[in-house]
Subunit: 604 residues, 2 copies
């Protein structure tokens, strides 16, 4: 099966030479190649794995600048080890995406007269502005490439997928397309724009109440939209005629075009007085450019759909809760199996990943993993975004400290994401102390009351402050949004160290996932998916939708305050009450009962 | 005595008419009038109180747009009540400075062809960009005014002060001007700029190791600098010839010019290839404009001096600690006097303000208040930035909940800022509960360990999270920087709700001042000035420099955790140990001993 690893594994220098030949023909001195494609999304189709083809790097985010002398790969803090392993250092030079960003490289290396090629359907307005500013300083030129440069050098390029469009009823989505569209258009009216470009696949699928299978992990149809304040909606994608007919006859008329008709249609749609709304970091520069070319203006603000989608309606929340509960029962089965299997059979990291997938397939609406499972023993768990290799990876031993971060897509409306850290014999006191510290951080967020509109960084602090007190920290965010049978990484809500600007509101979903990592030794993370709920006028708190026991052997009850102990006991009481009715055998129920006993004493 | 209140109190509509006549002569449709002047500073000289003269508003921050039909006054969340009281609503319309900012007003009201006047030495690049963007959209023109518009209509304008320059020795400052300048020029070199414009008076005075008396509350010489990467430094201000000679003969040559020679000198200094460094929010638009006009470029980043000044050296910290300790003894005298006086004489809010000033004058290096003291009884304490009126204000009763926020300037190198909330009889249980909640917030910050580079919003959260848990909050930041015998509000370090980007480092100073306010009833705030200190490799915490007892009657020990109780007891132990040797009579010592007893039991 072709996947991104196959594309990357086939890397050889001739690819760079072939690309440079194309660049020469186009008179380009440099070419900017982001990981993302014209959808500006975390997931891309195989045909658009341009970065993996060019450099061999398979991470989810990054960017390359290729010149006739250099291939620079810009990666973030998650990927230095993986990028070093996957790329050939004779050919590819690594740089930090944020600390030594592409614009700095251009500023240092571009010569006067350089032509820096970029695909204006792919590059975002924000990236364009940063590059354009330094190009101007260096008297270099940002040169849009007329068509996809890679068609001419990537000869065995995979086909672009074209999956069936799955129509969702309003009952399932909780809101009709017409109602959603009215809310989007109200935001457009308030902003004074005539058109909105929407390229994020999850936003497009949410708005149109559709789903698909075009991308790994995220159940969407790859399509872009051009939404007028009035009249038609234009959709650009590889949609079958029958699907196009269905979309055109829905209560809101959607006109389907071929994927490559985007710019052409935009050019004819925008009138000189029109303002076009383009997302600055998740939209295409070509949109803004076109609006300016025809004499209109561009509004570069976050897409209104991103914000509307973030506040889940009751139907969506009910479905999410249900999927999380189904998945919690899967987790209980997995942990029960694992505790025994580690002592009796050869269990590899890949084996655990396959087993949880297998258990999930017995849930009738499970469709696929929501991300590549991180099944990581001991030191492997200290690597961000580790995935078990094809040979199975490490074998779990009784002494292993094991981290499992896994989730599924459920077609009745759920996307899940849970992490548990497990031990299989009496843990070391250090593992126990650290796991308890991380649990204190988790509880701090889970029980925190906060005012409506609180910014995500404040809740990130809630997790980190008790860990800092013990001089511990972790180098990732505390939580991210999660979609309704959509992307497991959803914007704009976030809990992170650096400043956020999005106020939290009831109905948003967020993971809570503090951790602690010691390189080459172990990783600890405790993650639940939560919803933001009201708790009195103007006040909010989080409520977990996942009900999976925390490993009691890794909790030092003496380190917990009475309030923290009570939180753990009440959470475990709920785990047992909610999940035990879903288990089909007494042994599992007995296991869960034992796993959810109060920390001190026994439940009466 | 003329002060800003006198200028504001003399407001009459004829001022606006006179200003409009000048605008007509200059063919202006609108004029932008910020509170700040060409120094972009919180404090301005009386001659530059243009906003108070035009509108009657005396707040420390704000901006007006005057047209031939309207006077719009933009104010922030601290000032709606004060602005409504001070301005005539027939003439002046109030708008929120951040929620309905000036650019929105321009966007809604400007007509094509409008000429919007602004003083380009006063308006910052950031404000200019925001206004310019909407003016361009509306086909209006941003029109720099050639000279100070107010000279032609403000006929009884006060003189610009010109105080003596006080030279500080390197021993006193802890670093010579040459050493400071070398560090500034290293930053300039790294940034690739040939010139730096510095207009912040505290930055100028810090760099040149000088002080003065040109402004209220902040002991500085009003002057601006143009610093070359090499060679001379140009100073623009009203400096006496003898002072200019002294500056010119110092180890670093400083050439003094008249205040109005700034633009002219800049024009001749910058060469076409030069890049000029201008602070975007605390620097002048004219600098950037001039750099671009002569063919150079401008770097709009925060001034490097702001960052260098923020990290205090050992000499500065020693002086600050010493001033805080002297001031703590003043506070103890004040609180001792107050507790008795409230029951035996008529004590007004203004009387307390005068009394603490009088006690401070007995400290030999005290020069002036570091800000207008907030002496506020009961409901008055719920007003942000209340100041007692000339008639004395409220009389303190035994039942009063009293808030005193006061600080001084000490010429051996200290600026202080402390707040205490006090009661004079058994407090209500509600006052006690709320004062204890605020104390918990204070302790949370005071005892928090955090990694080097932590952003200020994380410590703001440390204060707020325990208050949120009780569904309480406060509408101001948790802390601000404080200078070394300079401004009591120092940048860039801050603890605030919204995202910050400045990492905290050892040697920075910050107030810790959570509060709780109930409109018309009371205000509670507990404030200490702290320094950031190392506590292990890569870890920091705060250490209080102020040693003033918290009112024990307002602390409900049962609401405190053992750790919080221990913090209070240890703080009070230090208050007694450090301050009692400074007290000159036994009654005071006995009072302090009682005021600093452990919360439960007695100190052995």
């Amino acid at each position: 099966m072709t996947n991104v690893k196959t594309i990357a594994a086939g890397w050889e220098p001739s690819r760079v030479s072939a690309l440079r030949d194309v660049m020469s023909a186009m008179k380009l001195d440099a070419l900017v190649i982001p990981r993302w494609d014209e959808q500006q999304f975390e997931y891309v189709s195989l045909a658009n794995e341009r970065l993996a083809w060019t450099t061999g790097f398979t991470g989810s985010w990054g960017l390359s600048i290729v010149t006739h002398d250099d291939v620079i790969l810009f990666i973030d803090g998650r990927y230095p080890e993986q990028a070093a392993r996957e790329t050939n250092s004779d050919w590819v030079t690594l740089q930090h995406l944020y600390e030594e960003p592409p614009e700095d490289w251009i500023s240092q290396h571009a010569q006067a007269g350089w032509r820096v090629g970029f695909d204006s359907e792919v590059v975002t307005p924000d990236l364009y502005d940063r590059l354009q500013k330094v190009c101007e300083q260096k008297a270099a030129l940002m040169q849009p490439t007329a068509s996809d440069t890679f068609d001419q050098c990537w000869l065995d390029r995979p086909e672009t997928p074209s999956s069936e469009v799955i129509q969702l009823s309003a009952e399932w989505a909780g809101e009709s397309v017409a109602e959603k569209l009215a809310r989007v258009r109200e935001q457009m009216r308030l902003a004074g724009v005539a058109w909105l470009v929407e390229t994020q696949p999850d936003n497009v699928n949410w708005l149109l109440n559709i789903r698909g299978q075009d991308l790994p992990y995220c159940p969407v149809v790859r399509a872009r939209l051009l939404i007028g304040l009035k009249g038609e909606i234009h959709l650009f994608g590889d949609v079958a005629d029958s699907d196009a007919e269905a979309l055109a006859s829905a209560d809101t008329t959607i006109r389907c075009h071929a994927r490559d008709q985007f710019l052409n249609t935009l050019e004819h749609a925008i009138q000189p007085a029109d303002c076009l709304w383009v997302d600055p970091t998740q939209g295409p520069q070509c949109g803004r450019q076109m609006a300016e070319t025809v004499g209109g203006g561009a509004l570069t603000n976050r897409s209104p759909i991103t914000d509307l989608k973030a506040r889940k309606n009751d139907t969506e929340l009910t479905a999410l809760r249900s999927a999380c509960l189904s998945d919690s029962a899967v987790w209980v089965r997995l942990l029960h199996w694992l505790e025994s299997a580690v002592h009796s059979e050869v269990v590899t990291e890949l084996g655990v990943e396959e087993r949880i997938h297998q258990f999930r397939t017995e849930v009738d609406d499970y469709t696929a993993p929501s991300f590549r499972t991180i099944s990581a023993a001991d030191g492997n768990a200290s690597l961000a975004h580790y995935s078990a290799p094809a040979d199975g990876g490490a074998t779990l031993k009784p002494s292993t400290l094991f981290l499992l971060d896994s989730g599924g897509q459920f077609s009745r409306g759920g996307t899940t994401d849970t992490t548990r850290t497990w031990c299989f014999q009496k843990p070391t006191s250090e593992h126990r102390r650290l796991a308890t510290c991380v649990l204190k951080a988790h509880i701090a967020v889970a029980q925190q009351v906060f005012p409506v509109g609180t910014l995500g960084h404040a809740l990130d602090s809630a997790a980190r402050l008790p860990m800092w007190q013990a001089k511990l920290d972790y180098d990732h965010g505390t939580g991210h949004g999660v979609g309704h049978y959509l992307s497991v990484h959803e914007f704009p809500q976030r809990m992170q160290k650096s400043g956020t600007t999005v106020g939290l509101e009831a109905g948003m979903t967020l993971t809570v996932e503090p951790g602690f990592y010691r390189a080459d030794e172990f990783g600890i993370r405790h993650e639940n998916l939560c919803e933001v709920v009201c708790c009195g006028d103007g006040w909010l708190r989080l409520e977990s939708m996942a009900f999976v026991p925390f490993n009691r052997h890794l909790i030092d009850a003496e380190m917990l305050t009475p309030v923290e102990q009570a939180w753990v006991d009440e959470y475990h009481r709920q785990v047992y009450a909610r999940v035990s009715p879903m288990l089909d055998n007494d042994e599992l129920v007995a296991w869960l009962e034992a796993a959810t006993q109060p920390l001190t004493g026994h439940r009466s």
